[in-house]
Symmetry: C2
Subunit: 83 residues, 2 copies
């Protein structure tokens, strides 16, 4: 077994309204920053023990499917590194 | 001017309690997943126009300092790619 950290990034699908990001963008503009767009995402770093990085990625993928992401509105990606 | 996307990842400092991550970890365990730890972070993808990637990173850094992160409890890092 090797120790891995799987990073699951969960973002809203294209076209889903993101009022939090819109508010953050406006607040930055009010502070004088120029920006073309802003998207927000949630990032989960999960420490797991697994036989291979593929096994760790598969487990993180299942975590995203079952709990971390809502497939109706979210896309996610998984990235695994040894810890 | 070149178009860049700056990704600002904001995480709680080591030692700051993270009840949301703790709850998520327990929920995953209740679903039968084995994991050693879980940390959550916020990720902001900011589209900016700048003369160089250094200038884009500097601007994103200032956004983090002034609004996106709270220096008392957060660490952040900035990563810039051309879009």
């Amino acid at each position: 077994m090797t120790a891995y950290t799987a990073t699951v990034t969960v973002r809203l699908k294209e076209g889903v309204l993101d009022p939090e990001a819109e508010t953050t963008k406006r607040a930055l503009e009010r502070l004088g920053f120029e920006l073309d767009g802003l998207r927000s995402a949630d990032r989960f770093e999960v420490d797991v023990d697994a036989d291979s990085s593929e096994a760790a990625a598969a487990r993180a993928d299942e975590m995203a499917e079952r709990l971390l992401a809502n497939p109706t509105i979210h896309d996610y990606d998984v990235d695994v590194v040894e810890r």
